[in-house]
């Protein structure tokens, strides 16, 4: 962590140093002025939406990923097939086109089959992020579960456990420790990809920065702050995950 902190302070220094050149106009987010303070408040208020969006999408992605991963490991190829198709298909769609499709297209599709719902920017972004990420989560689960020795499943069978019990009590508790690091990676990825929600009007960090740039004409300062906002968010997540890994003993090399 000390290295990260040093890096953070270092980059701040470099940025601050630039201000002497006269190209910077930090007044736009100077908390000592009334306008700057209100601008900062406006920008920081995006944290709530970004975090909420990411957390809900991540949990949905983990749930969908499990529902895709488990049949994907069946010995029956017809059970395996839909899961394979889902993963290959979803993985191939870039996030932004999928976001547009879900936001503008999905309501039309749903209406045509008699389901009349409007999808707002918040849920549009969550659905897109969750689905798009679930293909990767599913593959992480699969690699984690398949990394557990086959003898574990066999031993579970010989003591009478059903498939569900074997997963729940024997395989997943062991797999979860191994997949925690890549799963955390995916979560960080979701947090960053949530910036795309700005294009459909979701008031999260990036959208707010964009809006402020339009009124204040200071892209350099505002986007710099935006990047730092994401940096702080991701560092907090990293820190939390490290703690979780230690607690769960993910590092089996110890």
């Amino acid at each position: 962590m000390t290295f990260r902190t040093a890096l953070l302070l270092g980059s701040l220094f470099v940025l601050a140093g630039c201000s002497s050149s006269g190209n910077w106009g930090w007044y736009v987010i100077d908390p000592t002025t009334k306008n700057g303070a209100s601008n900062i408040r406006f920008l920081l208020n995006g944290f709530g939406a970004t975090i909420l969006l990411s957390v809900i999408a991540a949990f949905m992605s983990m749930a969908i990923g499990m529902m895709v991963a488990l049949p994907g490991m069946s010995s029956n190829r017809w059970i395996r097939l839909p899961s394979r198709i889902y993963i290959e298909f979803v993985r191939a769609i870039p996030l932004l086109p999928m976001l547009f499709w879900v936001f503008y297209g999905l309501p039309v599709v749903l209406k045509s089959i008699g389901i009349n719902v409007s999808i707002d920017a918040f849920w549009g972004a969550i659905i897109t992020l969750a689905i798009s990420d679930s293909a990767f989560t599913a593959e992480i689960y699969r690699s984690g579960i398949q990394s557990i020795n086959k003898g574990q499943t066999e031993a579970a069978k010989t003591v009478g456990l059903t498939y569900g019990q074997t997963m729940r009590y024997v395989i997943l508790p062991q797999a979860i420790r191994r997949i925690l690091p890549p799963l955390a990676n995916q979560f960080i990825y979701i947090v960053k990809m949530s910036a795309f929600a700005s294009v459909i009007g979701m008031q999260e960090l990036t959208r707010r920065a964009n809006e402020l740039v339009v009124t204040e004409y200071r892209p350099l300062e505002i986007y710099t702050l935006l990047i730092l906002e994401y940096l702080v968010l991701v560092l907090i997540i990293s820190f939390f995950v490290r703690w979780l890994e230690r607690k769960m003993g993910s590092d089996e090399s110890k």
Partner: protein, 247 residues
């Protein structure tokens, strides 16, 4: 009629791995209380044979019935597995659980025992394999011999009628082999029906009612330990015995 049937009855069992035939027309009957030792060179199909008995390997053709239950569908496989305990070469203990949890998981989840009952039973079997003091440790804190004894106790907690041992001492350091074999001999003396795949010929002489020698997926020779060790009939068996008994 489970009571009257043979413990294990196998007829015309075949098993293929792709183009490779691992078991060829195996016929084998094991009576209640009988102790059978299976030996043979590696790749001869001995492990595959006992893994077919509880359907860890699915048979391709032939009949298997255990304690009168014929193996036909997943329901009968579940019923058979509840009668058959198995001990593996690599122990296969659950590494994230304590010894006690390893022993109580099956009885609690599969048999619906209360925690207290399951733990009482677990402690009883840990006493039997002589390691009650390790109950709260994790498997990785135990020696190989201790782990294998825990694995035996874990199987016994399901109160099986038949025990299958798949090379139970092959992964052990030499000085730990006897502590595991002693436990198996105890079980044998108590009348447990068992099939043991092993190369421990001293154990076979002491505990087996019947020896089976397998090669290339077929049963080549079968007989009492006396017949088997003193007067093997087939050339292949003589050769095998001379190799493993040489030292």
């Amino acid at each position: 009629m489970p009571g009257d049937a043979h413990a294990i009855e196998i007829k015309g069992l075949n098993k293929w791995y792709g183009d490779y035939q691992a078991l060829k027309d195996i016929d084998l009957t094991v009576d209640h209380g009988e102790r059978v030792v299976v030996c043979g060179p590696s790749g001869s199909g001995k492990s595959t044979l006992i893994r077919c008995v509880n359907s860890l390997e699915a048979k391709d053709s032939g009949l298997i019935s255990v304690d009168g239950i014929e193996m036909v569908d997943s329901q009968s496989i579940d019923a058979i597995r509840s009668e058959v305990g198995m001990v593996f070469q690599q122990f296969n203990l659950f590494p994230h659980l304590t010894i006690l949890q390893n022993l109580t998981l099956g009885p609690m989840k599969a048999r619906g025992l209360s925690k207290a009952d399951a733990e009482a039973r677990a402690m009883q079997y840990l006493e039997r394999v002589r390691i009650p003091d390790q109950a709260h440790k994790k498997p990785s804190e135990l020696s190989g011999g201790q782990q294998q004894r825990v694995a035996i106790a874990r199987s016994l907690c399901m109160e099986p009628k038949i025990m299958l041992f798949d090379e139970p001492t092959s992964a052990l350091d030499p000085e730990m082999i006897s502590e595991v074999l002693d436990v198996i001999v105890d079980l044998a003396e108590e009348g447990m029906t068992m099939i043991v795949v092993t190369h421990e010929m001293g154990f076979a002489r002491k505990a087996a009612d019947r020896m089976i020698f397998m090669d290339h997926g077929a049963i080549v020779e079968t007989g009492t330990p006396e017949q088997f060790f003193e007067a093997p009939k087939s050339e292949r068996c003589k050769q095998f015995l001379s190799q493993i008994l040489q030292h």
